[in-house]
């Protein structure tokens, strides 16, 4: 028997909608009748869920969302526990105020993904837009907890004013990465443009690669270092990253630069120097 599945009706795939609250801890206990009446916002007006999604009842072990959901914002918003699987790309503000559970997106996510995440695990198989894990407008704080793992690339201002939590980007990132970062951990497996972590206050940015990264003038020179907390961090990611990614993290030589001293910051950029295969 398949799991409870909500499939977006084909004629609504261009409408902007807000799916905050359509999450396992709220939806799974409901009967199909109650679920059908659950209000969601479509183009600014409240609609019963049944007018927007086809409901296919099933096992209540997880919630599955299907259809062309690229216009659906705040997917996973307010989630506290359970498993939510989205078999599509999603819109902006993914995992808004999510505090627990696991959210898997099989596709891309728009801007401000995980920007207001407070806990739980978000995995995105595609790319994310700008301001992932970053402070949204009118907010001083970006991501405040949990883990966000992106297999693809990230747009501009990844982790801008990020406050806590861990973000892993498997691909490349655009300008402004870790700017004014307050705390937390960012792991970059791909390429990133100069400068990195401008105005960083605290926290850790880990870059993985064979080439020594150019550092912003506010950072101390990269120096070889042994850090005994790194095994704890890597252990927390062990089951979520690929074996190749874990090898890159655990077998590298570590270099550290502190900064951004230009703004009095005491953050750290760690370069995990990829060992050349002989």
């Amino acid at each position: 028997m398949s799991s409870l599945t909500l499939t977006l009706r084909a004629d609504l795939d261009q409408q902007r909608m807000d799916l905050h609250g359509i999450v396992p801890d709220r939806v799974l206990p409901l009967s199909v009748g109650d679920l059908a009446k659950l209000p969601i916002s479509v183009s600014g007006r409240a609609c019963p869920l049944a007018e927007v999604f086809e409901i296919s009842d099933g096992q209540r072990d997880r919630l599955v969302l299907r259809g062309a959901l690229a216009s659906a914002d705040r997917v996973g918003g307010g989630m506290r526990e359970g498993l939510l699987i989205v078999e599509s790309s999603v819109g902006h503000r993914l995992a808004d105020r999510m505090s627990g559970g696991e959210l898997c997106v099989c596709g891309d996510a728009g801007h401000y993904a995980s920007a207001q995440q407070r806990g739980g695990l978000v995995t995105i198989s595609g790319n994310v837009g700008d301001f992932c894990a970053a402070a949204p407008p009118n907010s001083r704080r970006g991501m405040q907890g949990g883990q966000c793992l992106v297999e693809g690339s990230a747009g501009q201002f990844l982790a801008y004013r990020m406050r806590r939590g861990t973000v892993v980007i498997g691909g490349n990132v655009a300008e402004g990465c870790a700017a004014s970062m307050v705390a937390g951990t960012v792991v970059l497996f791909g390429e990133f443009p100069f400068p990195l972590a401008v105005g960083m206050r605290r926290g850790t940015v880990i870059v993985v690669g064979a080439d020594k990264p150019p550092m912003h003038v506010g950072f101390t020179p990269l120096e070889s270092i042994e850090l005994s907390y790194l095994p704890l961090l890597f252990d927390s990611l062990r089951t979520k990253l690929t074996a190749d990614q874990m090898r890159l993290l655990t077998e590298a030589e570590t270099y550290r630069a502190l900064g951004d001293r230009a703004s009095g910051g005491l953050g750290e950029v760690l370069w995990l120097a990829e060992q050349q295969q002989t």
């Binding site: 806590r164 907390y229 704890l232 005491l266």
Partner: protein, 305 residues
């Protein structure tokens, strides 16, 4: 000598119909890791030094066991220690002082909480100030760690550790024909008891020779020698030493639960008795205060049933 009843024999050794009287305590487990086993052990030994009795040490502490690499939080050699005290406030004070002076100072070490629970006491959240503003907080998997810069790199310390209600003062007494025999019997018991988890034997080598009674002829002294078990006082006191017994030693046990203490007593008594005839072991009994002070009573009859 007053004759005290025995209820059974193990390997020809009398087991007295008595009970150990134990007290409620609060306890925590810490895990100390280091670059290698040598330094992890040095830190654990220093941290649990001068921690035999809450009477004058503030806490009772000892190494519980060595952990495997898979059990170690950071994959390095790891030692688990248990610390017992009479209140959460005193426990926190002792833990912070001892970790600050004995583990933070020891090269290459890190300290982690060894148990989880809702009741928490401070650990790194107080020690972090040694970093003088250069300390860094890191939250990993929902647990907060403090990274304090020190001369060999960083001292990593979990911000808090959990505490749990526990039991202190489980015990049994080994009565032997000679001191050397009593020592060997206790050593055999300790070898067996050290294989157990959730218990410590906080006295030197796990054994106390200065079993005490409550009070003294001196008003300012809260505990004094348990004269009824002193062989040199046999002629002038109502001695509890059977004829032919030349030495008595006490194994003291602190445990996280009643079952842990009872299990440790059973394992220790049986191990001592199995080897006991070789060492002139004559009798095993337990220490109590008439049952009026401690809420936990470990009757040897029940434990060995």
């Amino acid at each position: 000598m007053t004759d005290f009843p025995t209820f059974t024999q193990i390997n020809g050794i009398d087991i007295e119909d008595s009970f150990a009287e134990a007290f409620p305590m609060t306890a925590t487990r810490l895990i100390i890791t280091a670059e290698d086993r040598y330094w992890a052990l040095r830190a654990a030994e220093a941290m649990t030094g001068f921690a035999t009795s809450v009477i004058a040490c503030g806490c009772e502490a000892s190494i519980e066991r060595e952990l495997s690499q898979a059990q170690s939080p950071d994959g390095r050699p790891a030692i688990a220690v248990l610390v017992f005290s009479i209140s959460s406030k005193e426990l926190e004070k002792q833990v912070v002082r001892r970790v600050g002076q004995c583990v933070l100072t020891c090269p290459s070490t890190s300290v982690f909480a060894g148990m989880t629970g809702e009741k928490q006491i401070a650990l790194g959240s107080k020690l972090r100030y040694f970093g003088d503003g250069f300390q860094i907080s890191k939250v990993i998997g929902g647990r907060r760690f403090w990274r304090v810069p020190v001369m060999d790199g960083e001292f990593v310390c979990e911000a808090q550790t959990a505490r749990t209600s526990a039991i202190g003062g489980g015990n049994f007494l080994v009565l032997s024909e000679s001191l050397s025999g009593a020592l060997r019997a206790c050593e055999t018991a300790m070898d067996a008891m050290r294989q157990l988890t959730n218990v410590i034997m906080p006295f030197p080598g796990g054994v106390a020779r200065s079993g005490s009674k409550v009070g003294s002829k001196y008003k300012w002294l809260t505990a004094s020698t348990n004269h009824v078990y002193c062989p040199t006082l046999r002629p002038i006191t109502a001695s509890r030493l059977p004829p032919g017994v030349g030495a008595a030693l006490e194994v003291v046990i602190d445990g996280l639960t009643e079952a842990d203490v009872a299990r440790a007593m059973r394992v220790g008594i049986k191990a001592a008795c199995e080897a006991g005839t070789r060492y002139g072991l004559r009798r095993v009994t337990a220490g109590n205060y008439g049952g009026k002070l401690g809420q936990y009573h470990f009757h040897l009859k029940d434990i060995l049933a």
